[in-house]
């Protein structure tokens, strides 16, 4: 039995002649294989007025393809597989975890919807899935407390023509207006072997994995190489906004632009989020929730993305407590960490947690965040599936002074968005000087 004391994620990689990257990781503990495909397309590849397409495709891709022109769930579930997919600003992923006996089936189906989807994307299918997506939007954003906050923040952080200005779910009017020819064009541009990465992890040997990948995907034509989305965004002042929502308690959000995924200071800001607000030991939890009881909860995280990231801090006021007082505590702590940096004890704790989490991450072969998904993430964003060890090293090697420098450089009071979400009709509960904002 192989035992690892330091977590590792070994793999083999080949690129087919049509540009499809294929990665295989062997794990023979359980007779299952994870099939995971990333398309390097997300809502960042959409245009203003035409938002929500990448996510709409995530729905259409399960409805059928030319040679299997009906739902994708029945054959895979009947084979004992689980199936899912997700879309974010930067990428779309589709995956199955199947018994080894159904690996051919999963590859056949994934390759059919990569190569032969459009004949099955009809006006009627588009309309049905459009309705489902509108319901998803109602359920997860419109009918959920604080559900509009991220829309307001994205709108304030990024200018209108920036690819991160809209959320992945898209605008209601754009989803409603989506035309079949535009949807087809979007697919032809982004969903093809040269813009995709296939990762297989589980009870198979690498040679067989590559052979099957060649058999099912090898003759699909490469599409156009997509122009990488680029855009710049910056804040030149502090923007204060207030949003009314159906909530009991006001919540303050603070958002900053921060360095892109895997670039300098990305890991340090991730660690900073932990030491500020992850667990009872964290600085802000301890002061705001535990000692002073100004807040019911507090969170802080670096949201790492391909073009540029954002750092988001949020705290919900305890009944009767003011967002102004909460913001003052947060600002004092931000100033302190930018001045003194974290202690060695804080760094030790953060490192211990990170090492453990890297170990926990290699327990499953499939699904969101499993080994197949991680290999694709490293491959698509770094061009190197073997970045696991280097990724861990980013955290192991982070120093207190680097964390301090990151806080100093990025979490500036004069370049941020402060959003107060308040109960309806109670704008006065927002931070002073906030401009009302509406989203829909």
């Amino acid at each position: 039995m192989r035992r690892v004391d330091s977590p590792s994620l070994p793999f083999s990689k080949r690129t087919l002649s049509n540009g499809l990257d294929v990665i295989v990781h062997e794990d023979h503990h359980i007779p299952i294989v994870a099939v995971n495909i990333w398309y390097h397309v997300g809502s960042k590849n959409e245009r203003p007025g035409r938002t929500g397409f990448a996510h709409l495709f995530e729905h259409l891709m399960f409805e059928g393809s030319e040679h299997h022109n009906s739902g994708y769930f029945p054959p895979l579930q009947q084979a004992g597989g689980v199936v899912n997919g997700s879309t974010n600003t930067d990428r779309t992923n589709y995956w199955e975890v199947v018994p080894t006996s159904a690996l051919d089936l999963a590859l056949w189906m994934e390759s059919d919807r990569m190569g032969y989807l459009l004949p099955a994307v009809t006006q009627q299918r588009l309309e049905t899935q459009r309705d489902v997506v509108l319901n998803e939007r109602r359920q997860n954003y419109e009918n959920r407390p604080y559900g509009y906050a991220l829309m307001a923040l994205a709108g304030a952080l990024y200018p209108e023509d920036h690819p991160y200005h809209w959320l992945t779910i898209g605008a209601t009017e754009d989803i409603t207006a989506a035309r079949l020819d535009e949807v087809h064009e979007f697919f032809r541009t982004y969903y093809h072997p040269a813009n995709a990465s296939l990762s297989l992890a589980g009870d198979l040997d690498a040679a067989r994995g590559f052979e099957l990948a060649e058999r099912y995907f090898g003759d699909l034509p490469a599409g156009p190489v997509a122009e990488p989305a680029r855009a710049a965004a910056a804040l030149d002042r502090e923007r204060r906004l207030v949003l009314e929502d159906r909530v009991q308690m006001p919540r303050i959000y603070m958002a900053w632009h921060s360095p892109a995924m895997f670039s300098e200071h990305d890991a340090e800001l991730d660690l900073l989020g932990d030491l500020l607000a992850n667990g009872k030991t964290s600085r802000l939890y301890r002061i705001l929730v535990y000692e002073q009881r100004l807040a019911l909860d507090v969170s802080a995280a670096q949201y790492s993305r391909e073009l540029a990231s954002f750092f988001l801090l949020a705290a919900t006021a305890s009944p009767g407590k003011s967002l102004t007082d909460i913001a003052a505590v947060i600002d004092a702590e931000l100033a302190r960490v930018a001045d003194e940096g974290p202690s060695e004890a804080e760094m030790d704790r953060a490192r211990a947690q990170t090492e453990a989490h890297f170990m926990y991450r290699i327990q499953t072969v499939g699904g969101f965040g499993g080994k197949s998904d991680q290999l694709n993430a490293y491959n698509v964003f770094r061009g190197d599936p073997g970045f696991f060890a280097a990724d861990l090293a980013r955290y192991r090697d982070a120093t207190p002074s680097a964390v301090r420098d990151a806080a100093r450089a990025y979490l500036r009071f004069d370049q941020r968005v402060l959003l107060s979400v308040v109960p309806r009709g109670q704008q006065a509960l927002g931070l002073p000087g906030s401009d009302p904002v509406t989203v829909s």
């Binding site: 007779p31 579930q77 018994p99 509108l134 003759d219 159906r246 308690m249 535990y290 926990y360």
Partner: protein, 455 residues
């Protein structure tokens, strides 16, 4: 070789899989220990299942078990709540508490090299929590605030009201968190008493899974929990069985002004987890609403476009458990979604028995992928804890597959006739009442019972 795209590739025979062997031990103090060897990555999980939970909350003290469980990591010995959190972080541990209807389940996962520290810490928390007044005041206030926030979450509002409809006179009828009046009335001494009564070695089962021998796993359990002594405190009184009410309100509305969707629950008390025809119920639910490709989801989501997703399921308990459909539907479609749902509940009872295709799909999706639920130490130990909770045999996992595969379409119809009845289903809607009132009237259930969100 070109791929034959004229048909889907055949699926081969199911690969062989051996479910983990479970070894049972009993410590001298009566603690039941189950060990499972799990040799993948150097990670170990401890799951402690304590008998009691929602069901052990006395009337008027709803939320007692949950707040007691919450107080466990608020300090032990010299360690404050903050220092407990620090100790967990130092070993990279994941700590979690789940307060269920019949049991409180604590889970601690850590790296193999921290196994002793993790087990020792968990034992100190569970056996010797500090239960300090200032921590109790803070934890209770946070729970009161949480309750207030839940009023804005339609699924939470629906869940709460639906349980009360199902169990008006039984402890099962409340959420683990309790209600505002009960939380305000709780005293720290009641929490201490609840802890003494519930947290006893002879009421608990410990499952340990990790990359070492059964003997080494048992030894770890013994070292940490061997000194746990029983107390003389007893649970207030035994809770009786559930008596289904004869006439439950048919239609209940919880108004939510301006809601974009209606949150639906449709169901009734149905079966017990240890029902002999449990495999038939699993297959029946899979066909009806237990998976993406089920009748309910295909009808309401794919055919009608009313919702992002609809499903049915059993909320299993040791005693009589509810069966319910849940969905969040576009307000304008509320009445039609209810009508369609009731028609599906009726259809599977005979008018539209499962087709061969549906049966194949349901059975296979329940059985063929089963091994994937045993990848991590945490998955394995939680599955084994479920066996302890429902008093199921150690051979349960391997026996379930042939039992499910033996279920016929007739079995499904029989199970549906016995356990599903749209005529006595309670229908609960959290939605924009003025917008949906007229169409609800067309359902013919008379004037709805109107309930406020803060039940």
């Amino acid at each position: 070789m070109r791929v034959d795209r004229s048909q889907l590739p055949a699926v081969g025979p199911d690969p062989a899989f051996r479910f983990p062997r479970i070894v049972r031990h009993t410590l001298a103090n009566g603690l039941s220990v189950r060990t499972v060897e799990h040799h993948t990555v150097p990670v170990v999980t401890f799951v402690m299942l304590i008998d009691g939970g929602v069901v052990s909350d006395p009337a008027g003290q709803e939320g007692l078990a949950a707040i007691t469980a919450d107080m466990v990591d608020e300090g032990t010995g010299d360690l404050s709540a903050i220092e407990v959190s620090e100790s967990l972080a130092q070993i990279g541990a994941e700590y979690d508490v789940d307060v269920g209807a019949d049991a409180v389940v604590f889970t601690l996962t850590t790296l193999e090299r921290f196994m002793e520290r993790g087990a020792g810490l968990l034992a100190n928390l569970l056996i010797r929590p500090s239960l300090r007044r200032e921590d109790f005041d803070r934890v209770r206030q946070m729970r009161l605030d949480r309750l207030r926030q839940l009023k804005d979450s339609p699924p939470a509002v629906a869940e709460r009201a639906f349980l009360r409809l199902m169990y008006p006179d039984h402890p099962y009828g409340h959420l683990a968190i309790g209600n505002e009046a009960s939380l305000r009335g709780l005293e720290l001494e009641r929490v201490a008493q609840c802890h003494r009564a519930l947290f006893q070695p002879n009421r608990a089962t410990l499952v340990v899974a990790g990359p070492m021998t059964h003997d080494a796993l048992r030894q770890a359990a013994e070292t940490a929990f061997g000194a746990w002594e029983a107390s003389a405190e007893r649970v207030a009184s035994e809770v009786g069985d559930v008596v289904p009410r004869v006439e439950a309100p048919r239609l209940t509305v919880i108004p939510r002004e301006g809601a974009a969707q209606s949150e639906l629950r449709i169901g009734h008390l149905s079966a017990r987890r240890n029902a002999p025809d449990y495999p038939s119920l699993l297959v029946m639910n899979a066909v009806l609403g237990g998976q993406f490709v089920s009748r309910i989801n295909l009808k309401l989501r794919e055919e009608k476009g009313f919702t992002y997703g609809a499903r049915t399921g059993f909320d299993w308990r040791r005693r009589l458990s509810p069966f319910a459909l849940q969905a969040s539907v576009h307000s304008a479609s509320t009445a039609e979604a209810i009508r369609d749902s009731l028609a599906e509940l009726d259809g599977i009872r005979g008018p539209r028995p499962p087709t061969d295709t549906e049966m194949l799909l349901a059975r296979a999706s329940l059985t063929r992928g089963y091994p994937r639920n045993f990848e991590t130490a945490q998955q394995v130990s939680r599955s084994v804890a479920q066996l302890a909770l429902y008093d199921l045999p150690d051979t349960y996992f391997e026996e379930l597959i042939p039992r499910v595969n033996a279920v016929s379409a007739d079995d499904v119809v029989r199970a549906a006739q016995r356990y599903i009845d749209p005529a006595r289903a309670s229908i609960l809607v959290v939605g924009d009442h003025p917008v949906i009132a007229d169409s609800l009237e067309s359902l013919g259930f008379g004037a709805p019972q109107i309930v406020s969100a803060d039940v």
